[in-house]
Structure formats: structure tokens, C-alpha cells
Symmetry: C2
Subunit: 467 residues, 2 copies
Amino acid sequence: MTHDTTPTQPATTPAPSAAAAPAPPGGPAASATAAGGAGTRLDPWFGSYAARAHGMRASEIRALFAVANRPEVVSLAGGMPFIEGLPLDVIGEAVQRLIATKGTTALQYGSGQGDEELRERILEIVALEGITDAHPDDVVVTTGSQQGLDLVTRIFVDPGDVVLAEAPSYVGALGVFRSYEAQVQHVPLDADGLVPEALERAIVQARSAGQRVKFLYTIPNYHNPAGVTLSLERRQRVLEICKRHGVLIIEDNPYGLLGFDREPLPALRAFDDEGVVYLGSFSKTFAPGYRVGWVIAPHAVREKLVLASESSILSPSNASQMAITTYLATCDWRGQIKAYREMYRERRDAMVGALSEHLPSASWNVPDGGFYVWVRLPDGLDARSMLPRAVTERVAYVPGTAFFYDGQGADHMRLSFCYPTPERIREGVRRLASVVNSEADLVRLFGTHAEPDDDPRDAEHPSPNLA
Amino acid sequence: MTHDTTPTQPATTPAPSAAAAPAPPGGPAASATAAGGAGTRLDPWFGSYAARAHGMRASEIRALFAVANRPEVVSLAGGMPFIEGLPLDVIGEAVQRLIATKGTTALQYGSGQGDEELRERILEIVALEGITDAHPDDVVVTTGSQQGLDLVTRIFVDPGDVVLAEAPSYVGALGVFRSYEAQVQHVPLDADGLVPEALERAIVQARSAGQRVKFLYTIPNYHNPAGVTLSLERRQRVLEICKRHGVLIIEDNPYGLLGFDREPLPALRAFDDEGVVYLGSFSKTFAPGYRVGWVIAPHAVREKLVLASESSILSPSNASQMAITTYLATCDWRGQIKAYREMYRERRDAMVGALSEHLPSASWNVPDGGFYVWVRLPDGLDARSMLPRAVTERVAYVPGTAFFYDGQGADHMRLSFCYPTPERIREGVRRLASVVNSEADLVRLFGTHAEPDDDPRDAEHPSPNLA
């Protein structure tokens, strides 16, 4: 957990010499703080950081993922879609025509809210999940839906405010909430998604304790990491509870169109245009490399989101937005999503098949969409402390602790089936099973060897490797 | 200043009905606040926003710029580069080859720190301004240098912290500082840039008052909006003062390569790798539509910037970064910058020539690089209250108030010569002169008719129109 373990450290960065180092920064008060700090020698600005930056440090997991990206490792860790499935030649030609004919727009600054033609296209997409009453002016285009999460949190969360989130929840969202110094209150989920009674209890308890509950963050479809989907009946109940208690809902829906067995359920936003802020993304259904997502929000919220986005990036990339508009206009995107669904279903089957064969001592759900299987390890095993060994055995996963705000989750791991081929998935699970089984042998012989890690500061920050 | 004046309001957004509106959000305390607020009827979430969002509202100027973007208006307002000067056919073909051959990387998630090949290319660019000791690992690629500003402020500034900035300073930076609830302390500049004695006085005074001074934000080259350049001798003194007082320097340098008459001066970062965080951008020398900028920062700062960026957007766009790398590798980018310098010099000449001819009652600097002329109006005129009239006369500018944190600047306006052709610039200045001269007649007849606007909440947020 020192600077030396980070993968990105330059071998050639000169250590700051004492003679060249500036005076302790931040004024007299900060100097006093910095003087005794271990960070002072490494970082002359140690005493200057904002409170929100104190928890920002690279974790051991980040260093491991730098290794896990090597080709000999089967990574069941990341949420990268299988780009090889896209018609790259066709996309390349379309983008060439775009730049040649509309380059003076594509390469220029754009609107802070996002390109209007793209916002119209986005409405066609969300209509597939029942959102039919939105106007292009309700849409804010973002630099991936991660930026949507960041902006929503920025405009709503003061330090100490409560954010409700499923247990487990998306690592990248937890990182954002932490960076704005929110208190995350986890709400249990089961096979039908978020448990409404537990949600209401959490709201009432937080309010009774004098806490401000700012919003519920939920992933209703093919949950990351739990793989479950909120049932239709529960959607109504969650909406009713949140409306009754005046709690805004942040609906994060990157996977909704990637169901294997059925048509999508209506989005929460389809039932309520004032109580729900909806986050969408092209990263899982098309390509993450353009970094384009969107937010659909009630009027006043949307207005603040645009101002916050302009403060953060001035405007989303016109080149990226117009490339996506061109893709949607010239390629069979509905057919592409259908092809992705079939491909991911095959990979899901490969993964659960291999788990049944090689890891019967674990348990897991069988997701009917999305990218993830959430695996509970045999008793006594710790997914976090096992990870270095797994990477040594050339397989990677994300330990369950990444998906909790409070250090829970060491008994789980998230396995992604989106990126490797079915053959590689089977090989990865075989390798993983051999690690798990020999760890289980050790536990049987010597007892649990790792303390559960409950220091929330050690939980993960968002990272492309964990998307 | 009501919602009705914003250009982006949808005509069809239904007003929330009282029956459908959720209960007042944010818990009992917030409900009490919201109950009496005028915003409640318009915005059911009025009581839920974070403190930092309270000042976020669209200004009158934004509404005017929506009009100013119409083709019949000569806009001397924006900082948009003249994209028509780029070899769009060549760029289109290069991007087509990129997607066809490297599409599985370009369209995928990338590194949070940015593409390594691009970071190497960036070092070639900054070497032109004397930064020769940086390593690719010192570079963080950002979504425009606006994101660099946002991230630096995010990791350093707690509410109430002091940020030092020139008087005037870049509107987009002031907006970021405001959004993190910083106190901006302006430091005077003159024809040689920031005044070192005034800088030292500001540091000492703030510290004496018990304030935490987090950094100096400075634009040393072809300042936005003042057009001036920090002299070589003053660069040394500013560095010395900041080092002695332990104040970090944020050096924002989008225009450094766009000088008309001489080779660039060495960057502040060229003299000090521990005390300076350097912000660079492709937006002015190539194209803003890809939204790619960069930060060069000391090791520990850079590490936090990467974590903050991942929290904000996961990773910068691979497609954008690789398009720029391809441009740098296949096009004569040095020749392109030289062509831009000549083109912008011609436009500068057109602007100052037209000002001399039509507006002799005003005064201005003659910038030797960059995009902007900073014009002082005849006594008694108010650039902010004059803007609606100017837009009616089909010419737009940015009132000086946008470039101050504290309501100063109504006696100035920023004129940009980057985007319109010389002929349009001359026509724009002619129209502007007719507005100024008839306003001056009114002032002579009736006295100053507008109160200076000193409500800092009315100052501008960053916007693509003001870049």
C-alpha cells in the first residue's frame, strides 16, 4: 500500500531532494500537520490536499490488475465489452465520411448539454425500456455514465449525507460517493433485486438518526456485481416508497438491453419523470472507447447537471458523439445488440457450466443478462487475500470487498464473462478452482488465515479495470 | 435570471403537478428549508442540493449567447479555433485506418492516466517550451484542460480555501474554483503579466488573516482575457516567491505555441518540476472537438489526479486520444501551428486596426499571440448591461465581469479574433463601435445608467461559448 506498489510509478522519477523541495505548503497550520507526516518526504504537497483527497491512494488491487492485463492471464475481472464483435471497417468508413464532410463541427467545441441529434437518438434507445415521455431537452450527454454519476453526486451530496445503495453495489459508484464524502448505507438485495422493506427501514432509520438521505442509487437490471434484476412488482414498491419519503432515485442502467431470455422490464424512469434520474451508456451495448453516456433528469436537476458538466469538461466530445450518431444511423445497432446478447449468453453458459464442474464447493446465481456472476466462496476463504495467488496462477477476478463501502464482501468474488471467449472462460474457471480448492485445503488444515479487511479506506476507487 | 430565460428549456416539458410531486425531499431539516423556498414549485428537489450547487444557475449571458451563435451575428465572444484551417480529408482517412486496424483498442476502455503513446507525443510538444525533464509517467491525459483544472481543484481545495488568480482570469477556471467553494483572491497584472510584488502581498495578507492559500492559478502566455505574457524576469520571481512561501503554481498554457512574433518563453514548469502543475491542451493548437488536454504534475499529485480522474470518467476516450496520436504522427502539426500563428496574427491585425479606426474612445492592448484583445470601454459604460443591445446589433463579446470573481470588470470586454475572418472581424468591430458610441452619447446625456453588478453569484459559469 506504499507508493512503490503502484504500477504506474516511473522508474526514472527523481526523488525530490531536500534542497530543492519548497517550503511546507498550505500555510502555518498545514505546515504543522505536514511536518510530522510520513508523506512529507515523498510529497512536498502532502499538507495541502483537500479533505476529499485524503482517502485517494492506489490500492494493492490496482497493482495486481496491471499484471492481470497481461495476455497469459485470463481476466474474469473487468467489465470490458467484446469489441471484436463490431463491424470495425464499416464504422471506420462512416467516421472518415463524418470528418471529411462535417469535420468543422465534429472537431469544434460543442454544446455543454450534448449534441441534439444524438439526444434524439438516445430517446429511441430508452423507448425500448418504456421511457416514451422524455424530450431531447431532458437528456444530458456525459463522458461515459461514470461522469453522470459524478455530476449527480456533485450537485446533491454534501459531506456526511447518506446515499442508499444495494449491498453489494457498483465499485465505481461507491468510489464517487466516497470522493464526495457521502455516507453509503447498504440495502440488502436478493434474487428479485433490492428488498423494498429493507429500503424503507433504511430510510426511516437514517432519518431518525438525523441524517440527510439524498438518494437511492440502484442498478435494476442485471446488477453489477450481483447479476440480479429488480422484479416488476418490486419496481412499483421501490417507486412508491421513495416517492412517499421524498427520496430521489438514481437509476443506473448500462445493461438493460443485454438480457438473454426476455424483453426488458420497464425502467423505473418509465413510471416517474420527476422522482428518477436515469443514467444510460453506450459502453456496454456499443463501445466504451468513445466515452459517451447520458442522464435523463427532471428539468431543474438537468439544468444543474449541464452547468456542473460545463464546469468539469466544458462540453462532451463532438467527435465522439457524432461518431456514435453516425453508427446509430448507418449500422444495424439493434441487430448488433441482439448479436451481443447471444454471444454473452453463450459465455454465461460457459462460466456457470465450468463453475458447476470445477467449483461445486462455491455457490452463485445464474444471471439472465449482463456481464457478471457473483460467487460465494466456501466458508473461511477470503477473496481479497486469495487474489495475489490467483494472479500468480494466471486468473484474475474482483474481490467482493470492492463492492461494499464498509469492508464486507471478502466471502464473494465477481466473475465477468463478457470479454474472454468461452474456451478462455472455462480455462480461467479451471485455474480459479485449483486456487480455491488449495486455499480451502489450507483453511481446513490451519483455519482461516486472513483477517477480514474492514478498513473502508482500503476499498477500491473506480478504475477502468473494474468497470 | 429565471428558468424562462435559459436557452435550453424544452417547450414541451410538463410542469410537475402538485398531485404527482413527491414529498419534500432531504429529510425533515431540508423539508423545512424547501417549504418556503420560491424554487419549490418549480423543482421538487429544491431542498436536496449540495451547498456547492446553490450558485449553479443559468445566467442572462448564456441566453444571449444562444442568440449570438446565429450566423448573422459576428461573435467576438468565443475562444473557438478556426478548424477550417485543418486538413480534414487527411485526418478523416487517418482515423478510418485507425479504426479499421486498431479499433479493438480505440473503442475499448483505456488507461485512467491516458494512452502511453500520446503521453510520449505530448512530451515532444512541451519540449518546445523548455520542458525537457518530464517522463511520460508524469503526464495525465484529461478531457480537455478544463478537466485538468477541475481535478486539480478537486484534490486541493476545501471550501473556504484561497486560490490566487490574475485580475482578470479565465472564466472557466473561476467557475471551477467557485464550484469547489474556493475564495478567489485576484492579483493584479500589467503589460508584463502578473505583478510579483502584488502576488507576495496577497500571499502574506491571506496567511495573516488565517486563510489557507492552496495555489496560484496563472496563464503566463497570451493571457485569457488580458492578452499579456509574463516576462522571463518575472517568471523567475514568481517561482521564487511561490517556492519561498510554499504555494503551488498551476500553470495553464493553452496558447503558448501561438505567439506571432517570437519563439515561446520557457514554461514555469521548465524551471521547477516539484512546485508547478502544468496544464496543456490540444484545443487551441489542433482541435477542441476531441476534448483532449493534459496535466504534468509532481509524482504524488499526479497519482491523486489519476485516481480523481478515474472517479470522474473512468478513463479518457481512447478513440479521441488515438485520433490525436495519429494526427501528430501523420500530419505536419508543427507546420499547422505555424499556419495558425500566421492566420491569427492577420486577424489580430484586423481587429486592432478596426478598433483604432472605429473605437478610438476605448483603449486596449495589442497581444502578440493567442486569441484575445482586452478592451477598456470609455468612462461610464457598462459592458454587461450593453450586451443585449450589442447582440441586437448582431455583434457579441464577453463582458469583463465574467473574468472576475467579485463583480469587477464591467468597464472591460473581451474580444476574440480567433474564429471570424478578418473581414467579419472588421464588420463586427464596426457594429460594436456604433453600439458603444451611442451608449456613450446616452451616458453623456443622462449619466451612467447601470449600477455596477457586484453580486459574485451572477458571474459566469464555464461554458463552451466562453472557452
